[in-house]
Each structure stands twice: as C-alpha cells, then as structure tokens.
Symmetry: C2
Subunit: 471 residues, 2 copies
C-alpha cells in the first residue's frame, strides 16, 4: 500500500498531540546532505524531546501511513538521511535529545541520548579519565543516534570495534510506536534475541534509537604514533602482524596512505606539513596505546628495527612529542578533504579479507586502467581490511568529464570486491546510494530474511522508506 | 497450527531424500542433558554432513510441520537441546560436520563447521601460534555451533567478548530451508541487517548454524596469574579498576571466589590444593596477558603493592611457574564440580551492572536468609558483572529437603536482579528453563519484536519449539 504525504492536515493533528513547537517546517539543512548529492523536495520536521514524544510521532505516522526519516547529524555519506522521492515524510530529528543521562565511571559506561554530538561524548568520557574510542572525521557534527544506526566505524575499529561493539544497550521506539526500554549496562545478557545488534546498522528502517548505553575504556597509560614507509601493501600487512604479535590490542590504529593522497595534499592543502621530502609510494600510520611500564616511542622503535631487518620498512618517523603526533594524524585526516577538492569520479568504501588486500590493489589498478586514464587514491583502515578506494581524473580533467564512465568504474571495483569475498560497504552503510549494490551482491537468503524482518517490525513500511531495502 | 510428530512415514520420506544412514533412531545421549533435569520421550535423529543436507531436512520438516531441535555438544544448562513435550521432533545433530575448513593465520580467522568441538578449535588456533579465546568448563564436549547459538561466555569475556563478538560470519540454514552463505572474513561490513548477531544467541529458534568464521588473536607475549585476597566485593571492583587502568585489555580474566566454594572443594574434592591455609572470605583470580617488554609477575606484583597500600588486598600469591598458574586455575575450575557434589537447591546465572554487585550480594544474602537457613556460594566472572549465585542446603540437609522452597528462592534472587537492572540469564541463555523468567522480566516491546521476528523467519514454528519463546 502506498504511503501518504505529511500534509497540512497531518501536521496539524500531529502538532496538537505534542508540546508547542515540536512540529515545524524543515530547515534547508534537513533536506540535503553535506556532499550535495541528495535533496528532498519537502517534509515535515518533528523535534521531539523525549522517547515518549517519538512514540507519539510514530503511532501517528503509522495510523496515517506517513513515512518517517530519522535524522541525526546529517553527516551520512550514502543518502540515508534524505528521502529524495515519494510523498513528503516526517523528518524526525533527534537534535533536542542531547542529554548525557549518566556516567558510571566505575562501570566504564555512559548513557547518552541519541542527539548527543559524538565529540561531546568523547569529551565527557575524557573528563572522567576514560576513553570513548569511536572516532571519525565527522565527529564534531555526527550525533550518536545516527552513528549507531549506521554502525559507524572510524580509525579505532581495529582495537575497539565498530559502533555496534561499543554499545551495551538501547532505548528505542519500534515502528509501531512501542518504546523498548533496553538501556542495560551489562557485559553479558543472554535473555532473548539481539534486538540491540539488529537496530544498530539498520539505518533507521526498523525503529528510532533514542538513547544508548555506551562502553568506555580506561585511557591507555602510554600512547605513541609513528609513520613508517613500507615496501607495499604486503609488507604493510606483515608489519601489522608483527606489531600485533608484539603489542596485541596495544595497536590502536593502522592506517595505509598512498603517495597519491600526499600529492593531493601538496596540491590542495599546502599548509599540511608532509613528513617526508620524497613522497613515499606507501606508508602506514601506526598508533599504539600501551600498558604502564612500557614506553611507546621505544616500543615503536623496536618494532621498526625488527621490520627494517626483515626488509619491510625503509624509513620511519616516531613522534617524540604530542605536537608531532598531531602532525602525523593531520596528514591522515586531511586526505578526505584533499580528495574532495580534487573531485573524485567515483569513490568506494570497501572491505576485504585482510590477506586479499595486496592482490585486490594490484588487480584494481589493472581494472581501472582498462577503463581509461585515472588517478587512484587508495588509503584507509588497513588493520580492518577497509580501504577507501577513490578514482580521480587525470590532471587537467574534471569529474564532469567522466560522468558517463562512473557506473562502469563502480561496477568494476565492486565486482572485484565481490570476487574477493569483500564488502561493497565497509563502514558507510547502504542508505539510498547502495540499494542496487545490496540487491546485486547481497546473499539471496539474507535479503529474504531482511525483507521478512522489515515486514514484521514495520508492517506499514513507514520507517526510512527507500533506504537499505528499496521497495 | 499444531506440529506433527516425526513418525515413521516422515522418517522414511526423509531418509529417502538423504544419503544412506543420515536418519536414525536417536541414542539415549540425544534425549537427555548432563544434569538429568530434562528428558525427551522420543525423536528422530538426523546426522547431516553438509549444509545442503540440513536444508533438505528443514524443507521436509517445514512441509510436514515437524519440529526440529538443533543439537550440538549437548552441554547446555537450560534445556535448550531437549524438547520435553509435544510431538516427536527431528533431533538435528551437527556432530558429523566437524571440519576446520580453513585457517587464515595472517588474517586471524578460522572457519569451522558447527560440529567442531570447542577445544579442537582452540588447539588448531594454538598450533598456528594464535589464540581462540572462548573458554568454558564444557569446552572438551561443547560444539561451536551450539556455543554460538547460545552466545556462550566463559572466563575471557572481559577481554575478548562473548561468542557473538568472536564471530565474523556464518553459514546457516534458515527455517524455511534457504542456505545463507555468510562466511565473511571481514572486520567491517555494513551491508544490511545484522543477521549474524540475530542467529547467534537465538538458541536454534531462528535457524541452524552450519559453519562460522571465527576471530583469532595473537597469543599475548607474557602471561601471568595471581590470587589476591580482597576485603570484599567492593574492594575487588576497585582492584579491577586499578588493574585495567594499569594494564588495559591486558587483564584477561578477573574471577571472584567466595570461601563457601573453597569449603565445598575441601569437602568434596580434597585433591584440589587450596592456596591459603586460612580460607579467605573473598579472593580474586587475576589473569593477565601482556605485550612484549613487560614481565607478567612483575606487573602483578606492582598491582598488588598499589592495592595493598590502598587497603584493598591483604594477601596474595603470584604464580612463578606454569604449574602454579595451572594450580590457581584448578581451584576456580573445580568449584562447579564441587557445587554439583554438594547439590544446590537453586542456582542462578545472573549479571548486574558492575557497580551494583556489592549491594546485590549484601541484599541477596538477606533475602535468602529470610527464606530459611542456607549456604550461598557466590562466585564467577566479576569482570563482566556475571555471578553464579548458587544456594545450597545447610550441612546435614539435602536438595530434596527444600523442594518446596526452590521457586521462592529463584523468585527472590531474580526479583532482586531485576531491581538492580541486571539479567536473569547472563551466559547460559533461556532454553526451556527460563521461558517463564523471560516472559516475567523481559521488556514487553522487546518480547513483541522477538515474536514478530520469530513468526517472520519461522512461520510454521518448527525451530526448537518451546525454547526461548514458549508458545
């Protein structure tokens, strides 16, 4: 059955059921996304203050068969937050629910409402001498509800896991308006199906997360950062294995950087200081956070020496000060901005079995070359097998010159990913950008199960229509 | 619609669709469970060799509306593996599917079929100089399929997580007979709903796990174990916080032991050497696995000194040899057997928010005392807030003397757990033992969602009837 628009009659009824000023026309920021690739024509903005108000909104939307698009910080990269077609939905923004409800230092647990900005949660944890390890480029804007709904990743997944692994419990409103009071602070709880894990990563299609119990960690006693020039991706993997053999979970991040990214930085962001005068073809950024009794620079030095002896690394810099650590990270963190300024023809957030990464990079280059002359910036979270594999025009050409080739490039990259048993969406999710990829590359039995679950929990099909499962 | 029995006509049809000797009468071991509390009257045993054969069985069972009970090692403690009432089901044992299909050392991934014995997987990992950290009392008999289906815990959850966190991907057969080929070896994969997490912990009610891609870890470079006498549960928690502040994830296990358990050991298993002549009221077993460059006994010594200065610990033993480490663990690991020999009136696998543990132990003692004279052995995985809270008769009395009080004791303990926002099943699951507890203490919205998911994925209701959701 088709959905109905959130028209003025619906808006009036909804407004009457909620406190003053909960329902409004949307602002422009609610109708587009940061890269300007998705636009909504219209919608009705709802700004609830409590889970109870969210429940009121979902019950009304269910009764009227009106679509609901949950909205967090709006930083998603796959269009999950913007409904581009169909009747005007309710845009349900959690921005007013931004209390940190409680912090249990002894338990290493923090309870945050869905509208909390990620960096505010990090800061609250830090004030209690704890670490909330979820860290990603958009952390100053992204809200925890959306971060969980998309099972966001970032730079510390290697050590601490994705958003799903960092959440102990949820408060959420199911599509038919029931509130699930599941803010458990437990490390072990085997009482029934994993509804928490199911809502996390469902991208708002199975309900609205209103609050979460989040895992904190002790801050590592000793932290350190190094850049090491490696003899290619295979050597980088070998270095990773040696690092983990020596330091175990002490390896917090292991980021691969290709020369192309450094050249883009030099071209577009000359203020970012590059660490080597001769730009190396491949290097890795290694971050460690160690136990008391170890010295981080010394541990990195010992690792470097072992790797140099094995012929894996040819040059390296170990940060001796906090300023140097920040400078090394600045290189890594500015690469996405440099990419944006160059303008990719097609970008891909993929993951691969770790052992397949070197061969994928080799074959990927051949597949792209077969389609024309392009520059490839392949970088990312190597420790997780997660590459941001972005294809750019040659100097003098622009993104617009290659419009007609984008689909073929995307297809070539994703076909190769599928061949290696990888994922066409490692950390960004499906949203509206990749529904076709999910249908093409997804396992049929899993897709069948997903559709059955969607139908069971959201029989009217109101939750984030068109996202993840398109029709 | 009621289920039909797996009668001889069904058995003949099923046998004809499968290779010779796949269908048989069950052996006695398939019809009971280790503690002798659940018995099945009858059933038809199926011993498939492949996921395809499992699919054939489920399709036939669906068509005939015959119940299916997935069967692993049979070591579950809540009766999930034994259907006690209703028409005779197919007992689907995975015992012939015990290949380790692949081991990717570089990727820290091992792919095992569901029938692999847990200790065989640990040994295969160890042979590759890796660690598969899932470790529990029944590991010599438990099979990985059942271990995953029940989201088993054990002694290393504090560091490495439950079974769910140790699994990257699954091959499974859905209730209607479709095979989900989901054996991904990826650390990040945001392509749709978390079906993996949903099947894990569903106790065979949503499908049959046939193989799993499991996470391995590097073996810690330095390992050590200590026993420390603590000034009560509050001091134990403070000690845990200090240990994690110093050593982070290096704390692998943190087990609480009460004098009652030591007294039971002395009484029933006199060969187990007790570490202190004067049995302390409370002690903890601390296990650490550290990075290269640290010395485990020295790190434990430094922790002990800090804790002694703070008045948290009064005595301690730090293992200097492997034999001593084994002896310390032997104390902890024999407590369940000592409990069995004494014979509990009622035992409880519960978890609590970490900070609530001391008050729970205090109030729990009062609540039990109000019901009569009993001995309480409260021990377990304190690092996870997971207590095994077991109530025993006084000397001279027996389990049978208290039959009529069991329900009141269980109710008192579980009510108190609910009051503290804990879980009435931390690691054992719901099975058939705790369906009433789930209905009583479970969140109504979550239960509604669970029923909807069960109905959506298993419309004929054939999968493990009566387990988790009773009717």
């Amino acid at each position: 059955m088709p959905l109905n628009p959130a028209d003025s009659a619906f808006a009036e009824r909804l407004a009457a059921a909620l406190p003053f000023d909960t329902v409004r026309p949307p602002e422009p920021r609610h109708l587009e996304e940061p890269r300007g690739r998705y636009f909504a024509k219209s919608g009705l903005l709802a700004l609830p203050r409590t889970a109870g108000e969210v429940a009121t909104i979902l019950r009304a939307a269910n009764a009227a068969r009106v679509g609901v698009v949950p909205y967090g910080g709006g930083t998603g990269l796959v269009g999950g937050q913007v409904m581009t077609t169909g009747p005007a939905p309710v845009i349900l923004s959690l921005e007013r629910m931004r209390a940190i409800r409680a912090l249990y230092t002894e338990e290493n647990v923090l309870i945050a409402e869905a509208g909390c900005i990620l960096s505010d949660i990090q800061a609250a944890a830090s004030d209690a001498n704890r670490l909330f390890p979820l860290s990603l480029a958009a952390e100053g804007t992204a809200r925890i509800g959306g971060t969980l709904a998309t099972n966001a990743g970032g730079v510390n997944v290697l050590r601490y896991g994705n958003a799903r692994e960092l959440c102990l419990g949820l408060e959420a409103v199911l599509p038919t308006g029931e509130i699930w009071h599941g803010l458990k602070r437990l490390r072990k709880d085997n009482t029934g199906y994993d509804l928490r894990g199911l809502l996390i990563g469902a991208e708002g299609t199975l309900g609205v997360i209103t609050a979460a119990a989040l895992k904190l960690y002790p801050r590592p006693a000793e932290e350190g950062t190094a850049l090491m020039v490696v003899d290619g991706p295979r050597a980088a993997l070998d270095l990773l294995a040696r690092a983990r053999g020596r330091l175990g979970e002490g390896v917090s991040a292991f980021e691969l950087i290709h020369r192309q990214g450094l050249e883009f930085l030099r071209e577009t962001l000359p203020d970012v200081r590059l660490p080597f005068d001769d730009l190396p073809e491949w290097m890795v950024l290694v971050e460690v956070g160690l136990a008391q009794g170890l010295n981080a620079p010394a541990a990195l030095e010992a690792l470097f020496e072992e790797a140099a002896e094995a012929g894996l690394v040819t040059d390296g810099l170990i940060a001796q000060t906090e300023a140097q650590r920040a400078a090394f990270w600045s290189v890594r963190e500015h690469i996405p901005e440099a990419n944006r300024r160059i303008g990719s023809v097609s970008s891909h957030d993929i993951s691969l079995p770790l052992g397949a990464v070197p061969e994928f990079i080799e074959k990927g280059g051949e597949a792209i070359a077969a389609l024309g002359a392009f520059r490839i910036n392949c970088f990312g979270h190597l420790g997780d097998g997660n590459l941001h594999y972005n294809v750019f025009p040659m100097p003098g050409k622009s993104r617009a010159d290659h419009e007609t080739q984008r689909d073929a490039i995307k297809r070539a990259v994703h076909d190769l990913v599928a061949e290696f048993d990888g994922s066409v969406s490692a950390e960004h999710g499906i949203g509206r950008l990749k529904t076709g990829d999910l249908a093409r590359y997804g396992d049929p039995a899993k897709l069948m199960a997903m559709r059955a679950i969607k139908q069971a929990l959201d029989p009217a099909g109101i939750m984030n229509p068109g996202a993840v499962l398109d029709g």
